[in-house]
Amino acid sequence: MRWPVIIAAGAIAFLAAFYAAGAGMVGSDDRAADVVGDITENSYTRWISPIYEPGDDMEPILFGLQAGAGAVVLSYFILRIGSMTKG
């Protein structure tokens, strides 16, 4: 099976890009908020703030938790689907 190798390589490339993203990048969500400011000439203020906003130390952990949980489930079921053909 060559697909698992290709998928693994793709996943590694993705993760490498993910970690390389790092500093200096602004999220497109934040840029959109700036556009709202431009259009409304800064007259719009958000009427409700997030209940919880993670600090710089917690955000990578919580994003990592999402990625990690997803990756564990994904790998488990991808392997399980793969083994089904042999059964």
């Binding site: 697909w3 999402q66 079921f77 399980r80």
Partner: protein, 234 residues
Amino acid sequence: MHIMEGFLPHPWWEIWFALSLPVVAYGARRIGLLTREKRDTLPLLAVAGAFVFVLSSLKLPSMAGTCSHPTGTGIGAIMFGPAVTAVLATIVLVYQALFLAHGGITTLGANIFSMGIIGPAAGFLVYRALCRLGQSLFISTAIAAAFADMATYLMTSLQLALAFPATTGGVISSFFAFAAVFALTQVPLAIAEGVVTALIFQYILQARADMLLKMNVISKSSFDRIGTGKKVSR
């Protein structure tokens, strides 16, 4: 593609909730049916859900110093349709709204509508259309997933444009302003997402073509050709 908490004024946030919730409810009902009557499809559902989880957690660099997320909804849309994918997207969006301050609870309806409904619907339709036109399953899946990603971000741009029309040029001018941020950033990510989705789908196809046939994701003729090394179309 997240519209941040508090960034949709009344009545827009309520409107998007009203449009999204029936689809999510229908999707949840369909998942209920799958768990009772088609339990053998559940590993594929888990793959589709986990794929959304992983891809939407990636903050990838794009053009002009901006970073953004893939959506990961293409594979769910292709295998299970938009309504089931809306439920998968909802789970991710709730997590990100509660713990990451990405999106928000009041903007959840709008974010579900773009990422969970319009994106997957676009992916589903593009996949079916390309298969019908005789394209290979790899190409159909890749383009469908890229479209699902792009449609999501274009929908977000439209949602923001409707809520914040420009003084001159109105909604259309606003739409282009938001799309310039979201859609342009997304082009390279959508292409990457298309390729990764097609690779995963190809793996599932090799492992469980029988299941995809049963779920009406591929045609009988495609199923017959798999394993013979010929170009596979639906």
